[in-house]
Symmetry: D2
């Protein structure tokens, strides 16, 4: 039975607490938060202790630490937890600073402790089925990947200002998805962006709508589209053209009811946002972490994966500013 | 070049006039109507002569006669035209009276002249593809057939009164479709019906919504659903469960545009009514007639087919009245 | 906290044990089975006691009994459990004998204890959304209901012989679904059936493919199609034509991946069988039971509902044998 | 009655000959080809004369000239025909040389004669419905346009060498589609491309797979994806995200039949190539030309539109070579 402590007691910590508790191979021992009352509330809900970060990190009976704190503390906690001998599951992104993330990567690697980064979408059964079909050769060789990822509503500008920007905060999921499907990082990254959804996002130095094209050493191409707003809900699609066909992972809908009237034939919208869409993915993600530890196999998403996606976000951020393509190896 | 005369100059005559004219192997020579002005109008539109029925039937240069007059005249014109040595294409139904149709069948058969009945749906490319997939064994052996056939709006009660009733006027197409797909007529016919769309249709002795189940000698089952009203347009679907799978011919939509908004994901409605939905079928139907004559092969839809569907309509009419199943061989 | 004992420790008991355990308002106290080892196994899995039926029924601390035993014991256990003052949740069908079920209904009613019957499909979110849209008037008044319900593979003939037949064992779910959507029972029931999937099922006196048409006092019509075999999996659809449109609850698919190749455009199959398809429904069903007890409101599916569906199954069984429609009030 | 001569007697000339002949307001008088036998064959098929180019251009009874010759002759024939007082319909592209096209544009403009360029996709009913919905405000303001355009199979390298390259030969349709939907030309064009489908296309200096992102003065973004090969057929989709929703024009399928088996749920492929997919568009395109002449209104697609798309193709060609974005006003 894997004994787990969670650092952070916000919304995503709650998602993980549920997964840890429901999994027959893990148990939630303690939770901390920089606002102690939050930790107490979550602890009460899941029947575990509320502690300080240090009390969790220093408890020798705790096997694994799940980091769900604010992004600026991720690297530090990864370093502290691995130094304390814990296995680590850390929410994305590793850091907003690539240099800081790389430093963390070195230390964590030296510790020899396993670290998994929470790119939950790799565990979505639909994207997983697409990847499996590709690996099974069902469409021949991959040639052109398209990822569409639209949020239902834009975040407040206050959030945007501390988010690291659309590429590090939102598209980072899609960079990782591209790496997951293509099996390697691209060579060049080419971004265009605009703040057409909310001009205040532009005034804050960020974009809310962006298209990134990426080229690979072997001639493949990928394109990622992001928008902070889709009136119809959370739009999460992947489309891959191969030499012998195309694979598409379409949206998950709220239900299967279709209504035909004089106004047309209307089906349900996509499930609203990530908590609804990726329910199964969060459960499978945690199971992947537990299984890798139990089997002594490699983490299904590594700290290296987290750093790679961060580098891509950095390149895209630079590209959208300079208006020129950026080679990933120049980052 | 097949020289053709049309008896009748109404809406469906116009559809056929266009097909005859567009076909490179047929030419429209003359058209008649019991209202001469109608014949003149259609003749002018297609650059042919307006004549009397007799002038068409007696013209030795005319090879084929297309009968698009009112139903009560069909049998008589089939007899007259075949007696005059013409090949005949006659709109459905053959007659409202099964006895009258059978008498016609005998005379026409004795004449040796080919007669085709206008069950246009057999020529719809979608139903044709379903039939071809069945014949190719793609779903194994047929077991359970379902036909859905809803009109967009109910006809006026005045029309209902002279129509022969829903089973002879509307479901007769579906009886023929069942025969086309199942390859044989059923043994028993079991109908329920109601006038829930328009009570005045009930007062006129007819139903506007009906479900017919049919059983076959080899254990297969078919079910046909009809409604005189579907707010979203003309609903024309066929679904066939077989031992190794299912085939569905779905509706043809007005276009492929899908709109996603806060109200849902909305696509286009089915094409409105039979003139839109069966455009390609009317063209292919005429081509089938011309080709059978040119090649000396059997008509793709025969007078026997027309009489068989009429017998099924009679059985269903009896079943809905008596509330009991009717054996087709008792009709 | 509702304290629950389960009678029976088979597959469906396991489904309910999971739901009872996961629900924050209920706890599983004990489980019994006529094979004690089965009870012990399930008890160990969920951390509760294995007991005899009597020990559960006589335990004054147990609030509710969930009956998941073989059908022939349902009525007796409903009577015993209500007599013991328990709230009861009983799997469908109430009994194979309508008379026995009605006797049970009387006793249970006299006891004043609440009884819910496990028609889980009412809690499927898709059928629920269809019902909600109907109740909201989105398609006007209901006119013609169609229910399609195909199992992936036929059961062994040995099972068929003790099942009560397709209408009591399988279509009973669809009879209840019709009552759920139409809001009232039909007047007449008209069944055709065949054993085209497996002739041995016919030799055992049952059918494996059936179509039932039902008429309602106000002129509505319903049709239910059942097959014991669909090569592509569990086919569970509802379609309702109303005066202003149509509602369809389509199948739930295994995933959203679509593959386009030279062979066509292929999507995933429906989820395989009821455990996959109705996962959410089983959870919601139990929540409905707990909520009704907590709030003192009527059960969302009553013993009367169970008896009504059983009467319809009896009428259909008679109709398929006599080849004639059966009035429900004659049963 | 508009009297028309066609220059060129290849495949696309045949498509136009059919449309001219079928239209009640136009008649085909003569056709020419640099291989006279080709002209004679087409003339025989449509019952018109085979002539030389000059004999058509100099015939004062001919009102309109349709140019369907090889691309390198387009500009010259536009100039000659407008100088001869003809209305002109010219196939795309105007020219491979932007400078030459601009010179032609000046002369044609000075002539005062109307010139239409054959961007047939604007007349596709699906793209037309999408545009109409946008113009009706159904998704608010346009923000992010995506055009997918894949051919079924790559052309021979010999064709590629004289084609002007993928951007001028293939994507030019999509550049015009973007202009049609967005209502204005972009500011910057940013292309990536590869020859992953056929390396010989790369050796010939062209790409076979490309993604172009375009930015607009008001902050909108468009992305176009092209591949010379899609194993499943001709893939022609448009997707537009707006402030209040999304519009998608999906592929037109060969038929509506869906087959469900143990292997999945399979529908038909897209219609194979442009002659099948754009049948209706070619008819509507010609009707648009005839109507504009009859009504004295502006051509629905102008020579300016043709030159604009050509400039965009030039910018994309430069961008893919330099690896940098190109401002359209720098071309």
């Amino acid at each position: 039975m894997l004994k787990v402590g969670i650092l952070g007691a916000g919304r995503i910590a709650g998602v993980h607490a549920a997964a840890i508790t429901a999994h027959s191979g893990s148990t939630l021992v303690a939770v901390s938060d920089f606002i102690p009352a939050n930790a107490e509330k979550l602890a009460a809900q899941y029947g575990c202790e509320a502690r300080t970060n240090d009390a969790i990190l220093n408890d020798p009976t705790i096997d694994a630490v799940l980091i769900a704190t604010s992004t600026d503390t991720h690297s530090g906690f990864i370093e502290a937890a691995t130094a304390a001998g814990k296995a680590v599951f850390c929410e994305k992104p590793v850091d907003l600073s690539l240099a800081r993330a790389q430093a963390c990567q070195k230390l964590a690697s030296a510790s020899g402790r396993p670290v998994m980064i929470g790119f939950n979408r790799r565990f979505d059964p639909n994207f997983g089925a697409l990847k499996a079909a590709l690996d099974a050769g069902e469409i021949g060789k991959a040639e052109l990947l398209s990822i569409t990822s639209f949020d239902p509503t834009p975040p407040p500008v206050a959030y945007v200002k501390v988010s690291g920007g659309l590429f590090r905060d939102m598209m980072i999921h899609d960079f990782d998805m591209a790496n997951f499907i293509m099996g390697t990082a691209p060579e060049t990254i080419n971004a265009v962006g605009t703040s057409i959804v909310d001009p205040d996002i532009g005034l804050a130095g960020d974009v809310d709508t962006a298209v990134v094209t990426m080229t690979y050493a072997d001639g493949r191409i990928a394109v990622i589209k992001n928008s902070r707003r889709a009136a119809y809900g959370y739009d999460q699609r992947v489309e891959l053209l191969g030499s012998k066909g195309m694979l598409q992972a379409q949206n998950v809908l709220e239900n299967t009811v279709v209504k035909s009237t004089v106004d047309g034939v209307t089906g349900a919208k996509p499930t609203y946002f990530f908590l609804q869409r990726y329910t199964a993915a969060f459960t499978a993600e945690w199971a992947g972490f537990v299984a890798a530890l139990a089997n002594g196999t490699a983490m299904p998403v590594t700290l290296d994966d987290g750093v790679a996606a961060l580098a891509m976000a950095g390149a895209a951020t630079m590209s959208v500013k300079t208006g020129a393509p950026v080679r990933l190896d120049s980052i």
